[in-house]
């Protein structure tokens, strides 16, 4: 089945995608007492925690920023982007296995499932980003028009995470190890990305290793935008962009080649 055909079949199911997104958002937030605030409480409690623990150590390392809130802004810019990456990746990787019951019994385009996961993750991200912008306005850190530069950065991030996630999702059907591995990899990956700390505190040899991590330029770009109110260093984003395209291609290729075997294996 050609890719264009499977995408157009998925488009025909947009009604199903939208109602699933709506249901998932509703069930995620209406089942609990605090509802939608959980989407905010979780990341912000982490931010408060890291701020309290690391603020005094890290602040001197943020050049030209003396305000005590600077480290928190730095943290938000990195952590919120990382959370989007980690949510997209972990949701995508399990998507076929967790919906096995449905895939085995109903014939529908399988690509609708990752589409639902992506839309839900993006919706959550949009809410939290809006709150973040509000916070920046209040504390006088709002970067102005340059905030729009975050959109292409996020687009690269989403492409990268979804491509890797789709590749993982297909392999995960045949080797469930992927899912277990992912939880561990995400832990290490988080600490090998300058989110809580700054690149400057790293010894040179570790910093040299980090150039291979495609999340570094993305996170740094977000920090540039929101802490320093300046355009990201665009050429540095070519590496994650290249990887994003590569993984999306590989993910779609794996899906195309193995898509028919998925239901047989579930």
């Amino acid at each position: 089945m050609s890719l264009a055909l499977s995408l157009s079949r998925a488009w025909a199911y947009r009604g199903f995608i939208l109602s699933s997104v709506r249901r998932e958002l509703r069930s995620r937030y209406s089942g609990s007492l605090l509802g939608i605030s959980w989407a905010v409480i979780q990341p912000f409690s982490l931010i408060v925690l890291y701020s309290v623990v690391f603020s005094n150590i890290m602040r001197p390392l943020l050049a030209d920023h003396d305000a005590p809130i600077a480290y928190t802004v730095y943290l938000c810019a990195g952590l919120l982007s990382w959370n989007l990456h980690s949510e997209l990746l972990s949701r995508c990787v399990g998507i076929f296995v967790h919906n096995g019951n449905l895939l085995k019994k109903v014939s529908f385009p399988k690509l609708t499932l990752p589409a639902i996961a992506i839309l839900v993750a993006l919706f959550n991200f949009a809410i939290i980003m809006l709150i973040f912008q509000g916070l920046l306005l209040v504390i006088g850190y709002f970067p102005g028009w340059v905030a729009l530069a975050a959109l292409p950065v996020i687009a690269i991030l989403v492409t990268f995470s979804v491509g890797l996630g789709l590749l993982g999702a297909t392999i995960n059907v045949f080797y469930r190890d992927v899912e277990h591995l992912l939880a561990m990899v995400l832990q290490f990956w988080f600490w090998f990305t300058p989110i809580v700390y700054t690149l400057r505190i790293l010894p040179d040899w570790v910093a040299d290793l980090l150039v291979f991590n495609p999340m570094v330029p993305i996170v740094v770009a977000m920090q540039d935008i929101f802490l320093d109110a300046r355009q990201p260093h665009w050429p540095s984003l070519l590496y994650p962009l290249g990887l994003a395209v590569l993984f999306l291609g590989l993910g779609l290729l794996a899906y195309r080649r193995l898509g028919d075997d998925i239901v047989d294996e579930l």
Partner: protein, 418 residues
């Protein structure tokens, strides 16, 4: 709309000798799997509005065939073409999510079936009424019994009339009232032109619903005919499984014994006679005495032979069956050359019509009225016609319960007020 056409359809699952075989194949390191064929060269042509039952033992490939037809699984070779909208209940469900409520699942399934929100809204009262699960509709599906899940699944799958309805075993879970309701709905759809594909182990359902049946054996369609002949063959295969040596099962070819007969060289049925007033007859009045005389001849010693009888109606449904062991009798050991005659004398308490008799010989009684090994079976060895008996009380239905009827006038009322 509603046709199903399969040409040279085949399905093989990939089997890998070790876990890493698949990964090696992905990396282009040669072919590591062996195909495990579950369906071979299936050719089908089902016309719109036909109702086709698929029968066969577990593992014969029934569910796989349905999956290929509904499109959840892809064929390894050949093609399948289905016209129009397909609604399917595969493996007892339509993919409900256990954590979502029944109502959310209904929406989910209906959207997947291509219904618009307004249509779903309009169908909801009907789905609710048909599933009849009350407040459970707003509870998570994980709290449902399997019967409730099937009720809801069937209600959703048939909320709007599909061009093809595929039902895999689903109805076996529901209670008898729900089954009735489902049958009525299926019948109504059929009258409007829906094609039905139906997998069941309940043969009576296949008789009732289908006008054609397929027998799947080891991934091949071995019989494609009217339900009666296919079911006879299937039953014969089942019964002959416990038999000694190879049994030749007749498949209804030219000059062959009726479909479903089989035998070996240990015993033979040499005669089946129907007697009424000590005279051989072909027709007799309903509700009168009849004797079925079966003659069995043995070519080899048999330790514990038993002779059995089935009465079947015109559609092939078994109305009554028993054997000498079931009647608490014992023939005793027989040696080669022995001939045994067994008489079954009963009142033909059946409605007027045509009936056939299937007779068989088995060896070794088992507790609970069963026999261990079937030796010979003669499908439809004899037949008789029951005519209307004007002397007997009039009745209708399946069996004569021969009631005693009493009338009591409790209150006479007053003629003036009427």
């Amino acid at each position: 709309m509603g046709h199903i056409r399969a040409t040279h359809l085949g399905k093989a699952y990939k089997r890998y000798p070790h876990r890493w075989g698949r990964a090696a194949e992905w990396l282009g390191l040669g072919c590591h799997h062996t195909p495990h064929w579950v369906l071979h060269d299936i050719n089908l042509d089902i016309a719109p509005g036909e109702a086709v039952g698929i029968i066969g033992l577990n593992g014969a490939g029934k569910s796989t065939l349905l999956k290929l037809i509904t499109g959840t699984s892809r064929p390894t070779c050949g093609q399948v073409e289905v016209g129009g909208r397909v609604s399917a209940l595969l493996e007892l469900g339509i993919g409900f999510h256990p954590e979502f409520t029944g109502r959310q699942n209904v929406w989910n399934a209906a959207r997947l079936a291509g219904l618009e929100p307004a249509q779903i809204q309009a169908c909801m009262p009907d789905i609710q009424a048909f599933a009849d699960i009350g407040d459970y509709l707003d509870q998570p599906v994980r709290t449902y019994s399997s019967g409730m899940q099937v009720r809801l699944a069937f209600a959703v799958a048939t909320a709007t009339r599909p061009d093809v309805l595929v039902v895999d075993e689903a109805l076996a879970v529901g209670d008898v009232f729900f089954q009735q309701k489902c049958f009525e709905r299926i019948q109504a759809f059929r009258e409007q032109g829906t094609t039905l594909l139906f997998v069941s182990h309940a043969m009576s359902t296949v008789y009732t619903l289908c006008d054609r049946a397929l027998l799947l054996e080891g991934g091949h369609v071995t019989c494609d005919d009217e339900p009666r002949r296919v079911i006879d063959l299937y039953n014969a295969r089942l019964a002959s499984q416990g038999a000694q040596g190879e049994l030749q099962v007749a498949t209804g070819g030219e000059g062959d014994a009726p479909v479903g007969s089989y035998g070996n060289d240990q015993a033979r049925i040499t005669g089946v006679e129907i007697l009424h007033n000590e005279q051989p007859v072909h027709a007799l009045p309903a509700d009168s005495e009849v004797t079925v005389r079966i003659t069995a001849a043995f070519q080899a010693p048999v330790a514990d032979p038993h002779v059995g009888l089935q009465v079947r109606d015109r559609r092939g449904e078994i109305l009554y069956m028993t054997h000498t062991h079931g009647q608490g009798l014992r023939i005793g050991p027989v040696s080669a050359g022995a001939v045994v005659q067994v008489d079954y004398r009963f009142r033909a308490s059946l409605i007027p019509g045509d009936y056939t008799l299937t007779v068989g010989i088995a060896d070794q009684a088992m507790p609970g009225g069963h026999v261990r090994r079937s030796l010979v079976r003669r499908q439809d060895a004899a037949g008789f016609t029951l005519t209307r008996n004007l002397d007997a009380p009039h009745w209708d239905g399946l069996c004569n319960l021969a009631p005693t009827c009493r009338i009591q006038r409790i209150n006479e009322g007053s003629p003036a007020s009427g």
